[in-house]
Amino acid sequence: MYDVVIVGGGIVGVSLAYRLAEEGAGRVLLLEKGYLGGGSTFRCAGGIRASFTSREHIVLMKRSIELWGELREKLGVKYERSGYLWLISRERDVERFKEYSRVHNSFGVETRFVDEDFVKRVAPYVDTSSMVAALYDPLAGKASPFDAVYKQFLAARSLGVEFAVGREVDSVRVERGEARGVVVGNELIPARSVVVAAGAESVFLLRRSGVELPLAPVPHHAALTEEFGRLFDPLIIDVETGAYAVQTFHGHVLMGVEVEEEPFARPVVKLEFLEKVVSTWSKWLTWLPGANILRYWVGYYEVTPDHHPILGPVDGVENLYVATGFSGHGFMMAPVVAEELAEWIKSGKPKSEEAARLTLARFKEGRLIKELAVIG
């Protein structure tokens, strides 16, 4: 009998496994059907920020950022507070970002407008000739998805967590309103608590277990250039289109921009994306047309109706927990999600009231949460 079984070996499942192990939460098993990180996590940009507009996002992400710092210290995870920089090229966007900044500041997230000299210092290879203003977030930053998954995996394993990689969970066994474990093939793996952290696929897994999630996988695209020396430190965002670009620890530039996609669409590559991402970023990165594109891939955002995650216990099914629906922000949130869930499993309550408001029940009760800034 396991104390906790985790379904899904993305950043959320692996972070939780490590956290539970550190807290001595007993016998823990993580099941991953493909390979660790192979869902959305290894397709993500690795950006981390607390500069959101909802109280829930800001408070939880601020805590997550503290925990990212601890991960760097304890495990040597590649993580840097190198900032986010919103590049504004149209006068009409300035007021909107002033308002966002006021909200950030009121929660102690010190975003501020910066001048051209500042931009040139933190981003020497960004062309500022079309810039009318720029908002900088010094608390934000980036981490390496590979490093974050592998270092936490190795640490969790050395603390006794069992990992079953290449094993797909068919369903969660629910009897008399209580989760009893997970079903893999013909086998029941019994557990006191089950956590579903299966990313975009959580919706299908839980449906097979009798639980409906308001969750839609939506394809998002990203392309990577060859590697360079230092180009720009912060993750940069083109406010006009919502496109983002970040230089990875290895030196590549990873870029994303939205192209039209339907919920539940198959993730397929589109020439249209490459055209859009290169033309959008050529405005700020004037050297980009001469650089090489090395790779291009598509992954899922696991999107909820209010763009906030679904966290914690499932109403009507004892001992079943979910952690998904991050709507494009699951990498940055994973450390605090692990902390909150570990507490929830141990004591029946999360650490913060903000986490408590993110349960599945909010959809039934009509308590949706507003977030305005859904990018990078």
Partner: protein
């Protein structure tokens, strides 16, 4: 002397064997843990070598080990190429 598996990322046979011992025994994880095949050659030269080392180590024929996901544009392509895409098709 060092025997390289992946020239782009400077990964040696020794690195691969160590990673397998650490428990990275599928191609996708080995690739990402070591970065074999993530450089400009896109895995053309190194992934088949990686595959054969893994196959020998596990005693499993290479065709049973699958292959890593291959991502476009397959070869490094100048970004300017994509500015020439016709949008009305």
């Amino acid at each position: 002397m060092k025997a390289y598996v992946c020239m782009c990322e400077r990964v040696t046979v020794e690195d691969v064997e160590k990673a397998i011992e650490m428990g990275f025994t599928d191609l996708e994880s080995l690739k990402r843990f070591l970065r074999v095949g993530m450089g400009p050659c896109q895995g053309r030269y190194c992934v088949p070598i990686l595959l054969s080392i893994l196959s020998r180590r596990l005693g499993v024929p290479p065709e049973k080990l699958g292959y890593v996901s291959v991502r476009p544009p397959v070869e490094p392509a100048p970004a300017s190429l994509f500015l020439k895409v016709r949008k009305d098709v």
